[in-house]
Structure formats: C-alpha cells, structure tokens
Symmetry: D2
Subunit: 343 residues, 4 copies
C-alpha cells in the first residue's frame, strides 16, 4: 500500500485552518501529523470546534519539519514569512502552501504598499507561484512553494479571466467589482465589529474603492493576463452569513456580444476545469451554489441597454477561497488527482 | 382642539401596509378610520401581527371614502389602479397616496413595458406627482394624488441626485447601481424562494442588468434631473435580512474631485433635508444606519486610481422606502410638519 | 467487483429527500436509480437545489420497483401508506425505509388519534420495525420494512434511554422535554409562517404540552423501554436556524447520583455506538455539535439543588433525525458497515 | 412649562445603556445631561452606534451628580457598587436606578455566593428596592434606590407570580424554567463565543441546572411571594437572535384546572398592568410579541395528560428586561405616568 503524504497544518484554530483540517482528514492520501496554533497550544481540537476530535494542538516550534512532506500555513499575514524562512532553513524537501498574503506579490514594494510592513524575505518571492490553480497549474506542479490566493481575488480573477484573455474587455473603462463576503472571511478575532449583535441584520461596505488589500493582488494578476494595465475598482461588503462569497463584476465589452455569446466563451474557457462551473443562460450564481463546496460557480449576462457584461462569481470563502484551493494545489503539486478529497 | 385627519389604509396585511399602520397610529394628527385587506377581511390585526391590536380588518369595499381625508394604498401593482378609479368616482376631496407602481410613470407605455399589463386609467397619470419628497416637495404639496416611489428608486435617485444636478457625472459611462435588499422588500407572499431555509445563509442577485421593474422608474427620474438620457445598469441582490436596503452606486466624474469635495457637494445638496443625512468623510453608510428609521443615510467616496465616485445610499425599505415616505408625503400634502410621526 | 445496491428515492424535492440524495450519492455501495417528486416531475434536481446535478425528477409511478433493492420514502404523512401498499403488491424483495409517520405506530388507533386520519393498511403495521437503530438493530437487520423515526423522537428517546433502561428515572414525575428545532424540520412548504421575515429574529413555541404528533411516538417507545407507562410533556420550539435540533430533558432521579455517575451511565450505555457521542462532564451539547453530521451528541448534568437530571441531546434534524438514520438503517438491513456513507 | 427631570446614564456604550439613551431621549419629561462610558470617553455616540447623534461620551467622574435628578447605572456587575457609594457621598437627593446585580440581593452572602466577590457596601442593600415594578410598585415609589431586575428573572417571576401567589403551585415539585435569550443579553464584549460565526446557526444551553447567577435572584423573589422555599431549576439557552427572551416554565398544579381557568387567573392577576399582556387561550407567546417593546407578554396552558401547567413568558431583554423597566421604575419613582416614553 502506498505511503500517505505526511502533512502539517500551522494555524489550525482559525476558520480556514480548521477547514483545512476537515478536508485533509478525509483525504485518502494524507496523514495529518501536526496541527499547531500558538494561541491554543495544549488544547484539544474539540475544545475549539465542538464537532471535532481530541487531537492535541501544538506550538509552531513543535513541528518536526523534516518529518513532513507538505506544510500548510494558515497564519496571519506577516506571521507566515518567518515560518517559511525557518522551514526553508531546516528542510529542503517539504513543500509549502502558504494561505497568507506574504508571498503573493511579485514585488516586495507592492506587498509593503498594501500590507504596510517591511517584507523580511523578498528573495523568496520569486520561488513562490501564485496558486490560482486554473491559471497556473503547470507552474504549481513544478514548484515547491505556492502562495495560495486571497478569497476575493479567487472569485474575481476567475470571473474576469475568460473575457480578459480573449481581449473582449474594453480597458478604457475600469473593471468594477462589487463583492460580498460571509463573516468567516474576517477571521476568528474577538472584535466588537464581528459580534453577532453587530453583524446580524446589517450589511456593511468597507474599504471600498481602491483601499482593500486584495485590490493590489487582483490588479497584479489581471495585469498579467491582459499584458497591460487594468484599472480596478473593488468594493467589498460584509454580509450576515457565516461562509460564502460573491463578486458582481461590471466590464465594458463590444456591444454585439449577447448573453449567449458570453456564456459560450465562459463555458469554453472552463470546459475542462473540474472545480469551475459556468451556469446556463437563464441562471445567476448565488451563495448557495458554492457554500460547503470547493467550487467556483459563475454566470454571465449582457446588459440590454449598454455595452456592458455582468459576471457573477461565487465561491465558499473557506473552500475554493482558502482551504479547498490549498488542497487543490497540494494535489497538483504531488501529482494526485486534482479533486481528491474535494468533492 | 384641532380635528385629526381621518385616514384609510388599504392593504394593511402586507409588510408595508402594516408599517404604515404602525407609523400612523403614533401620528398625533391622524385618526385611522379604516384598515383593509381583502385576503384577511374579518380577522383582527393581532391575528396577523402578534404585537398589534384588536382592530378589525375590512374588505376594500367597506371603506366609506367620503368619510376620510387621506387614503393610503398599499396594494399589489395592478390592483391599485382600479381602486383609485373607484375612489375618484366617489370622492372629490380625499387625497390619495399610492404605494404601488401604478401611477409612477409619466407614460402609460413605460408602465406597460415594465409591468407587462395594460394601464386602465392612463388619463390619471398626469394627476399623480412622483412622490420623492426631496425632489418634488412643491408639486406634492399642491397635488391631491401622489405616486409613492419604489424602494430601490428612492435610495438610488437620492444617491445620484447631487452629482447629476450639478452636471458632475460623465454620462458617456453608465450609472452602475449594485443594490442589496432585505426580504420584506419582496412582500409577504407564501413562495418557496422566500422561505427561511431558502433565504438564510444565501445571497442572490436577481433580475440584474436592465430587467428589474424599478430600472424604468430610476431612469425616468434621472432623465428628468439630467435633462438628457442617463444610461442605467441596475443589479438588485436579495440578502438574509428582514428589513433594510443599500445601493452602491458607481459614477464617472471629473478626476479632480476629491472625497472631501464630493462630500461637501452632497452635504450642501441635502443641508436642509430633515430625512436625509450625509455622513462624514471617513464613514460609510450601512444597513444599520437606517433600519427602523425613515431616513436616507449616504456617504460618497472618490476612487483613488480612477475618475469614479462611489455613493452608498441606505434606507429602510419599509421606512423611507415605503411607509415612511408615504407619511412624509402625507405631511407635506396636508401642511403638517414634514417629520411628524417619523422621528 | 461487487454489484452496487440499486435505490429509489421517493419525494426527493423535500429537504429530507434531497439530503438522502446527497448522502446516497456519496455512498460507495449504492447506485441511485430513480428519484421522484410528483410536484416537480420533469424538472432537473439543479432546478430545485442549485448545487445539485442534472438528474431528472420522475413521477412516483415511473419507478420500476422490481428493478431496485431499496426504496426510500420521503413523502408527506398519509401519502406514504398507499405507496407502500402498491410497492408490496409488485415486489416481494425490495426493502423499504419509510421516513413518514405512517408505519411508526404499533396500533392503528394511535396513528389515527395523533394524525387525524384513517389508517388504510393497518395489517402492515406489524411488518414494520421502528427504526431507532441503537435500540432495535437486530430487528432492523431481519426486517424488510423499517419505519424511520421522527426527528424529535430520535433526539429525545436516545436522551432518555440510558436512565430509563436502568430504572433510574422516578416515573411518578413526568419526563419534561423542551425541544428546539431548525426550520427545515417543518418541510419545504410555501406557508407565510415559514417565510424568512416571519421566522428570522423570532423563536416560537408551538403545539406545546401534549399536542404535537411526535408526543405519541415518544410515549410509545419510552413505554416499551420502561415496561410501564411513562408520562411525557413535550414542548417544541421553532428557532431561526436552517437545520439542527436539541432536546433539553428534565427527569427526576435518585438524589445520590452525581453528574459524574450520570455521565458514566450514559457513556457505558452508548460505548459501542458509532453514531452517538456522550460529552465529557464539563461540556454541554449544542446545535453545532451535530449540524451537517449524522451523529446524536448528548450531555447529562445533575441539578445541584434538586433530585433531577438535565439531559441535552442534539441531532441534525435532516441527518440522524431523518436521512442519516435512514441510511444507517439501510446499512444495517443490507449488512453493510453501519456508518458507510455517514461520516 | 414644567422643568424636565435631569438624568445621567452611566455605561451608555453597552446595549442596555444605549437602549436607555434611546428611550430617555424620546421621554417628554427627561433631559439627558450626561452619558458616560469610561472605555469610550471622548468619542461621540455615533462612533459606536451609527444611527445615533453626536453627543459626547464622558468618563464616569465627569458627571456632576448634584446637577441631576436621576442616575441610571448600566455598568458591569461589581462596578456599580462603588459608583453608588460615591454618588451617595455627594448627593442626598439624586435617585438611582441600578441595572446591575449589585444591589438586587437582600443578603450580601447571597450576592457573594452567586457573583463570587465580596460586597463592599452591604449596608446599602436595605436601601434598595427590587425593581420588579408589577410586584413592588409602592415600595419603588417611596424609595430613592432601585435595583433593576435581571432579564431572566423579570420574564420568569412575572410568569410564575399569578399561580404562586394564589397557592396553586404544588411546591413539592420544582419550578422548571427553560429559558432562551437573544445575544445582546450577554453584553457587548469582544469574546470569541459571541462572534457572529460562532452564534449564527447555533443554539447553546449554558450554565444549566442551578448554576446561572440569575437562579439566586429568581429564588429569592419567588420565596418571598410564596412565603416558603421554592425549588427552582433554571436552564438558559443562547439563541441566534439579536434581542428578545422567552421563559418556558413548567409547574405542577391541581389537575382540575383547565387552560381556561388558568388564563382567567393570569388575566385577573395582570388586569390593571399596562405593560403585561396575557394572551387569549389559543395563542402562545413568542419572541416577536415583545421585540422592540417594553412589554411582558405571556400565555398559559394546561398539559392534557399531566397535572402540569406550561407558562410561556416573553420580554425584550433590552426592553422590559433592562432599559424599559428602568424607565418604568423611573416613572413610578417620580410620579410620572408609568408608561411615559415606553409605548
């Protein structure tokens, strides 16, 4: 019988870290060797997540990196950097999938601009592949280091890609992204603004315009697809839902294209993708299309009276938007069937 | 002591009709004489709304129209028309505030296009003033008939008005409206799509692009403000919240305008308005700014990297978006302090 | 390779029916041959449940009963009876798991008393085993017909069983059950009382005391365990949650028993049960312990100042409370590993 | 024109404190002179509650106690004690309504037992009247100090009172209270267990049996009504609702009493109470009966097969359960119409 791949999860106490644990535990080719969370070290998983088991949570430093094949980092932005540095110093084989933003940017300056802190290991940036699987599958397969994309960028870039790649977006107008996210996207932090009584019966735009950190990530990747600068307006909204995410995207296109044409372009673009689904003409993607899945589900529509298309792109922020895509990348990196453990 | 104005509410069993009842009951200058709902006739209000009282619900035809000063119609689109026709045949004095869409359009053709039915009393269209109080206060005061605006149009038109009136919107690009509505906006209909288990943990775009009926209403009014054709893209989303509504509006503007400039223009525009509030620079409007109020609260922001502004405009769909604005119009029509009963 | 068992699901459009579909689709030893729903016949599953697939929904009569090994009936109470009668007339081998209440009672009189309708096939009652797996495993294995328990009875009987069987409940006082249920427990019916705007921000006791239909079912089974009459007070409450269920149960016990004693009795009682979990002393069961699982999770506590114990028993109403238990029974009936497809 | 009463609100940043502000601001005979919150001093109210106004929040010590007629304390348990001590040292006239538990107990020992801390001013306990208005109206009117009841005790004691006073409860069995509370009852604390993603889609029993602090308060007051010891079992549950509370209460009664008899006893008991409503025979109280009101609404039902009654008693935990009752007591203390500002 084939030996299973041995994995470590750093940061298991957060929502994405625990989702990773849930997915990997069912994964037939994975053995979870270590789970860590400095803030909860010594506790059992079931102390934090009641439906879970009695696995003991370790401190980061208790992981024996030489003992594992794959490392999943679900740490806060800024904290992942130094862990990557330490692992690299010890192991030359462990593959790393980093769910933080620390290695998503091509240039340290961009990271520093959007995240407001010095990058301590800019040399590593070149080693990391941006892990949007559908766009970079080959590079991910060949790389030891993957920077797992942010949730908003995942939904958005996948929604813009088919028209951008085919040069059908008029880039003299900005790509306008009105995004809505469930609350787990903000993490498991004890802040007043995330309390039930604050979020419930409320819907809040935040960091709208050109402010949210994911804007830079979206722009960087869209620029690469377009081969030129793409102007992005990005407006996230917090909604009273535990998990899920949806980008409503407005792009200027040639007036002659119909909804049927557009849908065909999208379906063609994602024809062979197991984790992207393009809906039929008369359907619109919603949160429920992807909650508790690892899929990205999208729909596209021509606006009747204007040369514009509206793309709606839905993911589960903890699934395809975080842990699900991390496992998808893991599968690619290790040559496993891409959807193993994910459907 | 001054005699109170005598009022009738048609369609009290719906969410907007009952909100009207709640507001008018506290209104110091109003006596509610009749409440009707053909589908619930004979029941008591408390049978439908448990916190309410024992008032008996009548059939529409049981109202003695000659006995009342004001008639509020909270009936389904299409049904209001004939009631208006009947009332007009009986009474020459009762003032009518119609919350349906039946008399909102200037042209019967537009009504027929968006609502898919023949207009049976097109001659009355000229008699009705479009009841967006802040824009048409004088005409409302002088009129006997007011067509109360839809909820989406109220939030949206108020959000676009300050820049459109001052010619600061570049109309070569469309006005893009990404709107989010609480569930009471869809009415109290026993449909599967409105069940708790369908709406909860979901967020659904619907009728996006140029399809939703309120698009025509928004366009008609924006065209009048602009004195020219305004291209509108309107995308409503249903959110798992009982009441509340928010339009996130994207407009192209001169690049030189800053957030401070824009905020000043908005504050100046609504300086004397008791039921519109423009937030300070660093705040963004949310559902919670207006839930259970009759206010419209808005914020405006320049996008850093593009010549675009984002206006966020929030109302309670049952307050300023329906019953609250109906009472505001009632106050104007009868020369009462505009906010009476509303704050 | 072993042939898979061929299954038919009647009533796939309801919440429990669709949950059955989701579980069985992942079940390695099952092939779903037919799914029916007379009200949605001709539609695809994805028309009703957006994350689903393109399977066509049939009419009940389109099922070829001789072609299947197992029939799952997720039909309304009253409707299952005649389908069972028809299937029995055609096939002598197909095993039936009926999720309705039609064959749960030992006596037709009891059915008629609680469900207010004549039982048309009382002779079949003896053929059906009450499918609370943990209590009747042997009989289920030997039977061709299983009456799957109601959701409230499942959570409640499992919570009372360990103390009742060991004669530790003082039956001179009633067993008081204060139960809370998510909204899917009420089914997918277009009724005003189940609308989002009615259920949200509300919690409603209903049919409290000795009125709810599940009271008779609970009593019948507790009487059998006790070998004498058990007096039951049962108060269900509807809560604004999509799925989940919890019974808080108050029983009089010998004053000498401590929480530790009680917990030990429970743990011993369910030691070998793969789908029942008794929490440690200091934990209390919640909805989140079982949502999206097929487990029953419970905790027990001695009241400090009274000779009473409080048992809290949690299930997912669609999991262990309906579809999950149906598949558990299916596994037992066909000699498959009991948790196959369920964890 | 009559001078308004001058009021200070300590602890305005919490949910109950802000609710007090909202109620008092509409109160025609009150002028709010000071609002405090040490943790938010210097901020404006609208910084914390977006729909509010620009009133500046002070530190506790900035209140000039000699300048006010009434002091409302909405401070954490333990913190109110010393503020009362300080105010009493300065002012001999300001009336105090304390919403904390610090002066609710008759005996310091009981306070210390349930709240786990020394009582620093036990001599003041005699000066405070327990402010359950319906039971202690006369004493409240005559007193300068009122200890406003807890939310659970308010709903529960009012629900038990009519039968306890008339000696119709068989006290050889315990009074069993299964209570459900909205999340604002837990206060505005940044704790993980109160985050949206933890509370949403969950329902959690906590401190069940004889552990929750309100148990002692309930027992003390029921003992006084009964003139003997009443055994209480109290099980609170946290539900995913912002505000509201409901106690389902099980009491043993003479078997001869019918639901009609019981309802008549309740209606008679509360006949003259403006803020208590007893529902008709066929209705059951729900959260929606009292949300956003200052009422207590209840229903009572005989259990068919047992000598037990089930009382359901509903309040808004921030209304009658906190701020509403505080203002009701204020009205009584100052000889104002009892419901002023409350309906």
């Amino acid at each position: 019988m084939k030996r299973k791949y041995r994995a470590a999860i750093y940061g298991v106490s957060g929502y994405a870290g625990y989702e990773l644990y849930r997915i990997l535990k069912r994964h037939p080719e994975v053995e979870i060797e270590y789970v860590t969370a400095d803030s909860s070290a010594g506790k059992r998983l079931s102390d934090i997540y009641p439906t879970s088991d009695e696995t003991t949570i370790l401190r980061n430093e208790q992981v024996d990196v030489e003992d594992v094949d794959a490392v999943f980092l679900s740490l806060p932005h800024g904290a992942a950097k130094s862990v990557v540095e330490k692992i690299s110093a010890v192991s030359t084989t462990a593959k790393i999938i980093d769910l933080s933003a620390d290695y998503r940017f091509d240039e340290a300056e961009e990271y520093e601009k959007w995240y407001g802190q010095k990058h301590t290991s800019p040399d590593f940036l070149d080693d990391f592949v941006y892990g949007l699987t559908e766009l970079n599958r080959e590079a991910i397969y060949k790389s030891r280091f993957v920077a797992n994309p942010g949730c908003y960028p995942t939904a958005t870039i996948l929604g813009v890609f088919p028209l951008l790649k085919t040069k059908l977006i008029d880039l003299t107008s900005p790509v306008i992204i009105d995004a809505k996210s469930g609350v787990t996207g903000a993490g498991r932090k004890p802040e007043v603004r995330l309390l039930f009584a604050e979020v419930n019966e409320n819907l809040s735009p935040y960091n709208i315009g050109y402010i949210h950190r994911h804007t830079g990530e979206i722009e960087q990747e869209l620029n690469k697809v377009a081969g030129t600068n793409v102007s992005v307006i990005f407006s996230p909204h917090l909604v009273p839902i535990t998990r899920g995410m949806l980008s409503t995207i407005y792009v200027k296109i040639p007036a002659v294209l119909s909804t049927e044409d557009l849908t065909e372009i999208f379906q063609k673009s994602y024809r062979d993708e197991p984790l992207v689904k393009v809906l039929r003409n008369n359907s619109i993607a919603t949160f429920q299309h992807t909650i508790n899945t690892n899929m990205c589900v999208m729909s596209v529509k021509k606006v009747e009276n204007s040369p514009y298309a509206i793309v709606v792109s839905s993911i589960d922020n903890l699934g395809k938007g975080a842990a699900g895509q991390a496992v998808q990348n893991f599968n690619v990196m290790f040559g496993i069937e891409e959807t193993e453990g994910l459907i």
